[in-house]
């Protein structure tokens, strides 16, 4: 064995020694996995090299194979009989999509992103990723490379999609956290916030991709483990959606050079953070958006000339994952000395594993290599032949003539033993809050406080730092209304300028409900994402979903029990609404451990649902700002006394227990009829009711439109008798909307919505006042839209 490669002594290692090797090498492999590797090499009668062991660790990492979602789970709920679940992903996510069986799903779960149909020429790809651990340690670099990575996912889907939209959803600690309360070794949430926004801004803007949909949430439990979700939508020609690799095709690396940055990113992300993680700077990658832009420019030209047969990005695990995945069915041979390096001195395993950014791997038939090189040269992008695909079914890696890894593809991709994990769930009991009707007759102050909650308050300061106009296709912007500053429900874009075919993108996320029940949180996230699609005029019939789970340590039965609850909801709600999942990702181990006190913190169980929908006539779109005095305001969908996990309870220090459930039969009918009413032109504006309920939704519609509202709570349609003003105002029941209708269309609208519970709450007023009459006929809110807006705009202004 040469000095470049080390043999890892595992053949005769006992269990303690195996785990020491795993831990000290940041391999994140457990004992079962180490045993499987030991047994495999015992058969070969040799030890693995460091390159081989590292390759297996990357390929088997939680990040790359999602082993928790494939594990056998023994699940117990409230002490009842144990349920055996053979993989959360096949049982609840994949099965939902298969059963829904939408003909417009082109490719789901197999490629780097999901693909759905768009028009006669193009399909759409959509992927959302997280970059949580890196963003906790180095917010700017972590977030920038997060968006950079997901853009490469679109570029690595099919034969490559043109990136047309970025999305971003962040979860941070509270911006006003006192410094002395910061967990040891963590950055202040304000610094994380600023760094993450700047990272996404600088990368997305330089790439020339509009960032036009997102959300920012705050909870003290995100302080040590911030979440950074980055999404990308791409446009791909219909005949460029399939990929294959033939033996003899060249393995070609395109893009940036390889350095020591980002080594062990995949395995690092499969471990908890602690108060020493800040020292792990080298696991965070370094971004260069202009390099990535050049790669996109070069590869899309090569794609259109059919110069390569397959493509994938170098993400987690670097070349080891990219080449290993592409050559899974054939075999591959790579010569690491060919890899262009940023600097000398890298060991072979470092070259092989480096997660240096802005690199793609393509499979090029030898006859096309010259033309490909010409294109890359013209675009000033480096392209290098690293080796070729074979028919050996082996992954063979060479360095300066010497073989440094020789792995059986079958073992590498199928040898991972299935985990068996225990999961438990019991419904928590929280103190219940009662109505404040006996203490107060006026809820103006409550409404102002809700609007100022950081989760609800205006994110304009952040939104304007993103270029949401580039490419000239964003037709419903993140900020809408008379002064371009109201909160839009979803973004709408027309990827082909002047063409009426449109794409709608939205999201739903509500980790507060997880404190009551992760099932309700997941169900509500789906309902919210779909409401946002419907609110601008889309239809759930043509909507696909993405699931991104961010969870605590799944080796702990209660965290895994919460994950089971959420996965069950995904299946139930998606199948009931007929909205398939096309892609998803999980980021687990979002926990923080203080190594001196042993204190352990997990994030709230957080499921982000992203939705994408297709609309054939952009002219039918509506926005959430009220349009004209004299128009009527309707509440659509029943309100229940569901304030568990609500913002109203939260500002009064309660969690409560009755979180909003999703009634899919009613919800589906409501959304179908409303989409159709918008399509028929019966609606002037529409806003979904989410955080802060009808009260907050109405206030936002009013100040976005620049007109007042005069409303009465007595006409709110309810699913149960509600005798409290605050519950009517601030309940967060799902599947509800506020809708503005012109008086001359009143009867058409009411006829159209006949089977759906609706109620006319009042009207738009020229006078900029916002007044609400309560149950007893007394005024319960009286303020002006100026005061409401200022309360909403001030908190996150800088």
């Amino acid at each position: 064995m040469s000095s470049n490669v080390n043999e890892c002594q595992i053949l005769n290692a006992d269990d303690d020694e195996l785990m020491r090797i795993s831990r000290e090498g940041t391999l994140s492999l457990n004992l079962d996995e180490m045993h499987a590797i030991q047994a495999h090499f015992a058969k070969l009668q040799r030890n693995p090299t460091d390159v081989e062991l590292e390759t297996i660790a990357q390929t088997w990492s939680e990040h790359c194979v999602h082993k928790t979602f494939k594990s056998l789970i023994l699940y117990t709920e409230d002490g009842k009989d144990t349920e055996k679940i053979d993989g959360l992903f096949p049982t609840y996510i994949q099965r939902a999509t298969e059963e829904i069986n939408k003909p417009w799903c082109v490719s789901v779960f197999v490629d780097n992103a999901g693909i759905i149909e768009f028009d006669d020429t193009y399909n759409l790809v959509f992927k959302v990723e997280t970059h949580n651990h890196p963003s906790a340690i180095e917010p700017y670099g972590g977030a920038g490379t997060g968006i950079g990575g997901v853009i490469r996912d679109s570029l690595g889907t099919g034969l490559g999609a043109k990136p047309i939209l970025n999305t971003d959803v962040f979860c941070f600690g509270l911006p006003d956290t006192p410094y002395q309360e910061l967990p040891k070794g963590t950055l202040h949430p304000k610094r994380v916030f600023k760094g993450v926004v700047a990272g996404v801004r600088d990368y997305g803007n330089r790439m020339g991709i509009p960032t036009a949909n997102g959300a920012i949430l705050f909870d003290t439990r995100y302080t040590a483990n911030p979440l950074v979700f980055c999404g990308n939508v791409g446009l791909i020609p219909i005949d460029r959606c399939d990929k294959s690799v033939e033996p003899g095709d060249l393995v070609v690396a395109v893009g940036g050079r390889t350095g020591r940055d980002g080594i062990h990113g995949a395995t690092f992300s499969s471990a908890e953070l602690d108060d020493t993680s800040e020292n792990l700077g080298s696991v965070v990658q370094i971004g260069n958006p202009i390099m990535e832009k050049k790669i996109v420019d070069a590869l899309l030209q090569a794609r259109d000339l059919n110069l390569y047969r397959s493509i994938t990005d170098c993400g987690a695990g670097g070349f080891s994952s990219a080449v290993g995945e592409m050559g899974e069915d054939t075999g591959a041979e790579v010569h690491l000395e060919n890899v262009p390096l940023k600097y000398e001195g890298l060991a072979p395993w470092e070259i092989w594993l480096s997660e240096a950014q802005e690199r793609m791997v393509i499979a090029v038939p030898p006859e096309n290599i010259e033309k490909l090189m010409q294109i890359c040269e013209a675009e000033m992008v480096e392209a290098t032949v690293l080796g070729n695909f074979t028919n050996s079914q082996r992954l063979q890696v060479f360095y300066e003539g010497e073989i440094v890894a020789d792995l059986d593809m079958q073992f590498l991709h199928k040898g991972l033993p299935q985990h068996v994990k225990k999961a438990t769930w019991s419904i928590p009991q929280h103190p219940e809050m009662s109505s404040r009707d006996e203490q107060t007759e006026d809820y103006t102050e409550d409404l102002l406080r809700l609007l100022a909650c950081p989760n609800i308050a205006s994110k304009e300061h952040v939104i304007r730092q993103y270029d949401h106009e580039v490419q000239g296709g964003i037709v419903v912007k993140p900020l809408v209304g008379i002064e371009n500053d109201g909160p839009s429900d979803a973004c709408v874009l027309t990827p082909i300028i002047g063409n009426q075919d449109a794409v709608i993108v939205s999201n739903g996320i509500n980790p507060k409900y997880s404190d009551v029940d992760p099932y309700i949180s997941a169900a509500s996230a789906i309902d919210e994402a779909l409401r946002n699609i419907v609110a601008v005029g889309g239809s759930i019939e043509k909507t696909a979903l993405l699931d991104n789970f961010c969870w605590g340590n799944p080796d702990k039965p209660d965290r895994l029990g919460a994950l089971v609850r959420a996965a069950k909801a995904c299946y139930d709600i998606a199948t009931a609404y007929g909205t398939p999942f096309i892609s998803g990702k999980d980021s687990l181990y979002n926990e923080y451990r203080d190594t001196t006190t042993g204190e352990q913190r997990a994030i709230p169980s957080t499921l982000l649902i992203s939705a994408i929908s297709v609309l054939s006539d952009v002219g039918k779109v509506v926005t959430m700002d009220v349009k004209k005095p004299g128009n009527l305001i309707y509440a659509v969908g029943n309100t229940f006394a569901e304030l568990g996990g609500s913002h109203y309870f939260s500002i009064h220090g309660y969690i409560g227990n009755n979180a909003p459930i999703v009634r899919t039969e009613e919800g589906r009918l409501t959304m179908q009829r409303l989409s159709s009413a918008i399509d028929k032109g019966l609606v002037r504006s529409c806003h979904d009711c989410s955080e802060g309920g009808i009260g907050v939704a109405a206030a936002e519609m009013a100040f976005a439109g620049g007109y007042g509202l005069s409303l009465n709570l007595n006409t709110i349609p309810t699913g149960e008798k509600i005798i409290y003003n605050d519950f009517l105002l601030f309940s967060e029941s799902n599947s509800r909307f506020l809708v503005e209708v012109e008086p001359q269309k009143q009867s058409d609208f009411e006829d159209h919505m006949a089977e759906v519970p609706i109620g006319c709450l009042g009207s738009v007023t020229d006078n900029p006042t916002f007044t609400v009459i309560g149950i007893d006929g007394e005024q319960v809110i009286n303020t002006s839209i100026g005061i409401l807006k200022s309360s909403w705009q001030t908190p996150l202004h800088t």
């Binding site: 803007n205 106009e469 349009k627």
Partner: protein
């Protein structure tokens, strides 16, 4: 024969596709050309009538916005550019393209020195916004009286988006006075619709430009640069309030491209 438009690309250009579409809608033949292909003479600049330098972050805007592309153009394409200008052809620079034109000295204009040589030096700049950050927002523009062929006969108020971090036009007082006296200021940010606090006209003037300058031309009116993006308002659906206002189907930006194409058509293209 339709006029030929060269939409210039390089690493980091990112508004090339929509700029290309804008000129096509205005009736031109267009070509997206990488600067390497001009430098290597694979493409001949003299076969084009209009040169468009689109927005983006050319070479990452390393050092300062637009500077590397400007240096490249000045040193590697100088004679071709000088001939292009001398032939009375048109150049438009949008956002990053405006930054490039200012840094080449093509805007506010080339000075002829005592020995008769054209002196291409930078005489003004586009500095960091006073808000110290990248901002994307729509702005009202006041069209000024100018010789600019791109804005001839255009309406007096235009509504366009800006999206930049380095867009604050600033120049020494004598240069500003020169711009005023030669009517080289083409667009100013709106100074009327909102009562500004103190001297600041933010956010109407989104970057703090001297004299609220949003776009300038050279003395001939044939070289034009602006920070706002006319190529991002081609149809009414681009307008941020199209769901609440009654708007014409065509966006405000298209007229700028049509003016350029019409001018090139009438003066530059031989009658076929």
């Amino acid at each position: 024969m339709k006029p030929n438009v060269l939409v210039l690309r390089t690493a980091g250009t990112n508004c090339d596709a929509e700029t290309d579409v804008a000129f096509q809608l205005a009736g031109a033949n267009t070509a997206l050309v990488h600067i390497q292909n001009l430098i290597s003479s694979k493409v001949d600049l003299s076969t084009f009538h209009i040169l468009a330098i689109p927005g983006g972050f050319s070479y990452g805007d390393d050092i300062a916005a637009g500077i590397l592309l400007a240096v490249e153009m000045k040193h590697k394409l100088r004679s071709a550019l000088e001939k292009f200008v001398a032939d009375g052809k048109l150049i438009i620079g949008i956002c990053n393209g405006f930054q490039v034109l200012v840094r080449t000295g093509l805007l506010p204009g080339v000075e002829i020195s005592d020995n008769g040589n054209a002196d291409i030096t930078q005489r003004s700049t586009l500095a960091m916004n006073t808000s110290a950050k990248f901002e994307c927002r729509w702005v009202e523009l006041e069209t000024q009286q100018s010789p600019c062929v791109f804005t001839e006969g255009i309406k007096s108020q235009l509504y366009l988006p800006v999206a930049h971090a380095e867009g604050r036009f600033t120049a020494p007082p004598d240069i500003l006075a020169e711009l005023e006296s030669h009517k080289q200021i083409v667009f100013r940010y709106d100074r009327s619709s909102k009562i500004s606090s103190g001297n600041s006209n933010y956010p109407n003037n989104p970057n703090g430009s001297d004299a609220d300058i949003a776009g300038i031309c050279d003395r001939t009116g044939r070289i034009f640069g602006l920070m706002p993006h006319p190529e991002r308002f081609l149809t009414k659906w681009n307008h941020p309030r199209w769901t609440r206002e009654d708007l014409p189907d065509e966006g405000d930006g298209l007229a700028i491209f049509r003016n350029a194409v019409d001018y090139a058509d009438s003066l530059l293209c031989p009658v076929s």
